[in-house]
Subunit: 508 residues, 2 copies
């Protein structure tokens, strides 16, 4: 009487963003599924997955068949002809937990554990995930909840361990052009023998994440075994977390955060730290870019956030340092995956580059040296600088590219930019007094970054530069004429640059 | 350069809950769409609709074709071969508005208007809608926001007007068995010549809504013209709002509320009142069931809610009365569409029935009589009672059923109940001191109500009844053996009935 119906898998030549399956009307009726159901699909006694339901007429899939988009079938290890159990499911317990959080209640470890389980296995659909993220945004989480959220996200996925201490650095991001910092900092730290299995997610609300940028030069979808091998052979990685099943809940949250353009503090901290726990990291440098138009605008606020991070890393027994860095204008001159990959490569090759990039990257290296006891307190920066100027980091970077399947001989000019471009010029002469981060992000995203890897923005001036009327201020790149046009309109209507000059008005 | 690409519609033999379309890889690339895009689809210069994207291989749909599930194509008036413009869109403005609400900011009328527009035309997907509802649940809305939300929801859809005053009654629900009250109250009020174009939504978190229950006896998907005709020929309707395009945003919100099982106060008030504004109602009775296990548990809380309703109806110039009614146990003896339709029909035919049903229905009629000046203050109830006992309401109800396409000769025993049933018996003798509303709702929903119309719960006792050990307490009905089993397990583990007796324990 309670035996769940068995359906035969038929893969469909589709890609879909969510787990969606197709069953026909008859099958739907038989198993008691409606368009509003979630179906739990389980092959033998393997892990259960959950699907939204599309109901087809009789011709498309047969009775007792379940159509599954090929991509999703592959990802879940299902193939044509598999016999699966399909049962409509109930997520009322997790929905109740989310409702409680929306009403301001504190969640227990057990509740957080249950919720994360339903997120990871896919039982909770995007409406539930959006509501949970919204609850965190509106209500927040206290220190206990945050610690449990981190721990549950970390432990409900793969957890790696290593025979030696490994380190990592992570920026909370939010400032345009920041994704390339790791491409300079990580090879430099590795050059000192520090092991750095760095993984990062793709961009959430910014035009490029470190994974997006590194992907211009090499594969980033490394497996756990490849990362372990890289630690031995190269000293570290610049990888994407997506294929690693590290904190798998996070990848699901990120997708909805990206759509809603929210990044609740508790979720941000748990997201970052859960991946570090899962990666088996014993020391961590956290960068909080601070300034107008960054995620954090004041030093006070940055200090408060730093103390939340350190509270959790302390409970997690990860030795950590927080760097509060200047985030009031873009880092370097480029924003967008290909543009930033090129700028990072040039910087390593020339052993010099924009101070906002080089000084920041080397400060991170310094903190890593001090955390790993390779430098005494206060002595890390000089060591980092000498190493950077030695040129060795470029060689490490090329080894990393090679290990990750890219071309180790790549030259900056090999990295092609999008075919359509448009340059905005200075409307009058003066000194640049401000660059609006948010406007730069919006324009770069409108141009197509990070999905269009060749899209983005190149700045021709930074704060303090003198420009003459007609000088180029920024160039927008896009692979789509349509998107270029949108980005250009935004570029012309948003005040990206503030240019000060002494004469405010001349009468008449 | 900004011309948007034209695609050819191909209807697919599918049903989907959301607007989803299928394009092939080539087309996706050409128009710049990814799995994360929303596509704006517009036929000539008609209304634009927004779709989530599924990307197929080359075989399934051709280049420059857009596959649309048949149901959705029909609903939107699209047919095979139509040439539509398809443009990836940006809902960043509405997303920003939602983020602001999550952060606790007050929204302006313009912001609410923009947001509702993106909800109505489908630009905002379910993640956005869930976030907006969550913001209302966690943060709330003040009186101004609530008034604007009501007005924008009402006016961004069809608005009817009538050559005479029309009235309505509405319960905020939450108490099991309440959906049938309107089936008794509305025909009785119509028998006095009061015009009542009653429309209601389907159940949100309860096992049946008035529309679900009436649908057992007749069509409820009336058009605006049919409602106008019914007002003339019959005096009113018991219809579903779904096909009327009254407050179309509401139907979209309801779907996600149902999934998340939340019903934020501001959204509930705006939902109810926006449909009344759109229906052109000039007088309204609002029922707030109050008691343990109802939406509102105390009289104080009910009074606070009543004043919010009256604040908005006052601004809207709808003369209104609020009734605070006892909601501490189910109304009547039945819960679920078919069971309740049967009980209402029996009550009208016998001209008597459970006091919780008859007294409540007649109190609503009394308030309508007083609002419409057909009775002086305090005299409505006796008039209503005489009318009920005259048998005329049954005749009106049968005319309503006939007008709505049902069988006007229907007998209670024609309304079939689900084939599987199970009866829970009293574990010992005593008097019923409490019935747990929430448990009744959970069991009836687990049994399949409201989607399975024949499913639900029949109570055999109410508060104050004496039962002997082994007497039936409740019978669960379900069309699915699986669901019956789930509901039965819940019925046995949840304390639905509290039975008091004097001996608490006997030793040894």
């Amino acid at each position: 009487m309670t035996s769940s119906p068995r359906l035969t898998v038929r893969t469909l030549d589709f890609s879909a963003q969510e787990n969606l399956c197709v069953i026909n009307e008859e099958t739907a009726k038989k198993i008691g599924a409606t368009l509003e159901s979630r179906l739990m699909i389980r092959l033998d006694n393997l892990k259960a997955y959950y699907f939204g339901v599309i109901i087809s007429g009789k011709g498309f899939v047969n009775k007792d068949e379940i159509g599954i988009p090929r991509d999703i079938a592959q990802a879940l290890g299902l193939k044509d002809g598999d016999n699966v159990n399909a049962t409509p499911v109930n997520v009322s317990e997790s929905i109740e937990i989310i409702r409680n959080k929306l009403k301001g209640k504190k969640l227990s470890r057990e509740e957080i554990s249950k919720l994360i389980r339903d997120v990871v296995n896919g039982a909770l659909d995007e409406a539930g995930i959006a509501a949970f993220l919204s609850a965190q945004e509106a209500v927040g989480m206290d220190d206990d909840e945050l610690y449990y959220l981190t721990l549950e996200m970390a432990t409900q996925g793969t957890v790696l361990s290593h025979p030696y201490p490994v380190y990592d650095e992570h920026s909370i991001g939010g400032v345009p052009g920041n994704s390339k910092v790791a491409l300079v900092a990580v090879p430099t730290a590795i050059a000192f023998g520090i092991k750095i299995p760095k993984t990062s997610s793709r961009a959430i609300v910014s035009p490029s994440g470190t994974a997006d940028t590194m992907e211009v030069l090499a594969r980033v979808d490394l497996t756990a075994d490849e990362i372990k091998e890289a630690l031995v052979k190269v000293g570290g990685t610049l990888a994407w977390t997506g294929r690693l099943n590290l904190s798998p809940a996070d990848d699901i949250f990120v997708r909805t955060e990206r759509k809603l353009r929210i990044d609740p503090e508790s979720q941000m901290i748990a997201s970052i730290l859960s991946k570090k726990v899962a990666m088996g990291v014993s020391g961590l440098v956290i960068d909080i870019p601070t300034g107008e138009g960054a995620k954090v605008s004041t030093i006070n606020e940055a200090e408060r956030l730093a103390s939340r991070f350190l509270m959790v890393t302390n409970k997690l027994k990860i030795s950590s340092k927080v760097l509060i860095t200047f985030g009031g204008e873009p880092i370097g001159f480029t924003v967008g995956p290909a543009l930033e990959a090129r700028e990072a490569l040039e910087t390593l090759m020339k052993r010099s580059g924009p101070p906002s990039l080089v000084h920041k990257a080397l400060s991170i290296v310094a903190a890593l040296l001090e955390l790993s006891r390779k430098a005494n307190y206060g002595e890390g920066l000089n060591l980092a600088k000498s190493m950077f100027e030695s040129g060795k980091p470029e060689l490490v970077f090329r080894k990393m590219i090679e290990f990750q399947g890219g071309n180790p001989e790549v030259k900056p000019e090999d990295i092609s930019l999008a075919e359509f471009s448009y340059t905005i010029k200075a409307p009058f002469s003066g000194a640049v007094t401000k660059i609006n981060n948010n406007a730069v992000n919006i324009i770069a995203r409108a141009a197509g970054a990070p999905f269009d890897k060749k899209a983005g923005v190149m700045l021709h001036a930074k704060i303090g530069y003198r420009v003459n009327q007609g000088d180029p201020l920024l160039t927008i790149y896009s692979s789509s004429a349509n998107n270029l046009n949108k980005a250009r309109e935004l570029g012309e209507s948003l005040a990206v640059f503030e240019i000060g000059h002494m004469v405010l008005k001349s009468i008449p």
